[in-house]
């Protein structure tokens, strides 16, 4: 896979000798020209946000839900680690995956686990899927004016009926219940394929009523693997390994598949 590389227009400021726009004229070279922690990533003005990329997928069938994410952690063009999980298990029936900024999602996951523990203490049981979904929304919205830069997908099964559902979110808590959703850097690549394959849109031979989840767990698993393999081909922020959590009435099962590491 040798592709010609001509990304001079993407070259990070590290390679340009232009002085910092805010730095005063100085006889001594101003320190702002120094490579700092990682000058390649340091924008003109410091931003509290960072996009660490990654793709997350959740989809649900009649009796299962799948939550999947890659494990790459990237900072612009470099990969500080290939093993950075984006997934956290909230309860026996609910699993969350978050793309976006690594630090923010670690914070978010911790916050959620804390609130879940409080709920367990108070109610002597685990939160249901809709409750966890609403709590995630509330947690995100509590930082409405300094958003948590995390793009979440939540998947789980209904504790009463056993039916799978997933929820998709934006960074400030808007959410909807769905059957299939994808977020993160590979969203544009993965989401349309999942829509077509999973929801059966554009398959006009299938009547509306029968378009609902028709995939088996095995089929859905294979679909997710292919989706991630495809995203890895074209999205530089997705890759390394795929973590997949399958949630059924029998419990939660975690599997891992390798992805391309280039």
């Amino acid at each position: 896979m040798d592709r010609p590389l001509s990304h001079s227009s993407f070259l990070p400021p590290l390679f340009s000798s232009a002085p910092h726009p805010l730095s005063p004229p100085h006889s001594v070279p101003h320190p702002s020209a120094a490579p700092s922690v990682n000058a390649a990533e340091r924008p003109a003005r410091w931003s509290p946000y960072q996009d660490n990329g990654g793709t997350v997928v959740a989809l649900a069938g009649r009796d299962y839900a799948i939550v999947a994410a890659d494990t790459r952690f990237s900072v612009s063009f470099s990969i500080p680690t290939r093993e950075f999980t984006k997934i956290t298990q909230l309860t026996d029936r609910v699993v969350l995956a978050s793309a976006g900024m690594g630090a923010d999602r670690q914070y978010l996951h911790k916050m959620l686990h804390t609130r879940l523990a409080m709920y367990r203490h108070q109610h002597q049981r685990d939160m249901s899927l809709p409750a966890a979904a609403q709590m995630l929304s509330n947690t995100l919205y509590s930082r409405r004016f300094f958003p948590i830069y995390a793009f979440n997908v939540l998947g789980g099964i209904d504790s009463a009926t056993g039916e799978g559902f997933v929820y998709g979110y934006d960074a400030i808590g808007s959410h909807e219940q769905l059957k299939v959703v994808c977020s993160g850097s590979g969203q544009a690549i993965v989401q349309p394929v999942l829509d077509q394959q999973f929801s059966g849109r554009q398959r006009y031979s299938v009547p509306d009523a029968e378009r609902a989840p028709s995939l088996t767990l095995e089929q859905a698993t294979a679909l997710v693997r292919d989706a991630f393999a495809s995203a890895t081909e074209r999205d530089i922020h997705t890759g390394d390994a795929l973590e997949m959590w399958q949630i059924t009435a029998a419990g939660v099962r975690q599997t891992r598949y390798e992805l391309r590491k280039d």
Partner: protein, 264 residues
């Protein structure tokens, strides 16, 4: 207790150097139903008698999980205990948030004891009328602590609080060596046997699955509460054993001042 000249507020010492309000708070601890705690080299166990205010009411729970590695049994004013439990649960969660690890049991107890102590030094406050037995496990192994309304805390091998707890204490003192060596189920048996001692002087009362609760925590075993049908098995283990006097334990010091008859 007689009315006293120096007991109207918490910040006044009596000429004998006592703070009566704290002592009264300790009386409240003695009025709660009995709780027992014991720990060995591998496990810590809590057991309690649940009291029911009437036949129409349910039994009041007295053992609370604080975190996966620690729990508490309380005796005294349960409403006060809930405040302290909430405080300790918060401590556990904050520690997990900051360090992603379980709070050391001793630190947790020190914290809650300091919190209790603060209520003994301000005129506008009232001491917590509750005693706690905290059982937990951390990297140093299993622990059992007692805290008092005064803010004192002690680490112990075994302890009993609440109504008629002296007989349970005596039992535990006699079996201290067994407690120290006990394996998990043996430790539960000893704790329940000690708890049963508190019923010895009461007619028509016995330990049943409805009025008792057990909790266990061990190295590699998360804190777990057993109640109702779940304790039936444990109760079965102590049933046929009419306690042979003395047992194998001898090294334990026995209570000197207080004797069994002082429990009412």
């Amino acid at each position: 207790m007689l009315r006293n000249q120096y007991d109207t507020d918490i910040t006044t010492f009596s000429p004998q150097g006592r703070i009566h309000q704290i002592e009264y708070a300790s009386e409240a601890v003695k009025q709660g139903s009995a709780v027992v705690g014991a720990r060995s080299g591998t496990h810590a166990v809590l057991a309690c008698v649940k009291r029911s205010v009437s036949d129409l009411a349910s039994h009041q729970r007295k053992i609370f999980e604080l975190d996966t590695h620690v729990g508490v049994a309380v005796s005294g004013i349960i409403a006060d205990a809930r405040v302290l439990s909430k405080f300790m649960r918060n401590e556990c969660l904050q520690h997990r948030f900051a360090y992603e690890s379980a709070v050391p049991v001793g630190r947790l107890v020190r914290h809650v004891a300091d919190y209790c102590q603060r209520c003994t030094q301000r005129a506008s406050k009232r001491p917590f009328g509750v005693g706690l037995l905290v059982a937990g496990v951390d990297e140093l192994g299993p622990h059992l602590f007692e805290t008092c309304p005064s803010g004192d805390e002690y680490e112990l091998w075994a302890m009993a609080l609440g109504a008629r707890s002296q007989s349970a204490k005596t039992y535990l003192e006699r079996h201290l060596e067994e407690v120290k060596q006990a394996k998990r189920d043996e430790l539960i048996r000893l704790a329940l046997a000690a708890l049963r001692e508190t019923f010895a002087a009461v007619r028509d009362a016995e330990l049943t699955e409805h009025n008792c609760m057990v909790a266990v925590v061990g190295i590699e075993e998360p804190f777990r509460v057993y109640e109702d049908a779940q304790v039936a098995g444990f109760l079965e283990a102590i049933r046929p054993a009419p306690e042979p006097e003395g047992g194998s334990a001898t090294g334990a010091p026995s209570a000197s001042e207080e004797r069994m008859e002082d429990t009412s």
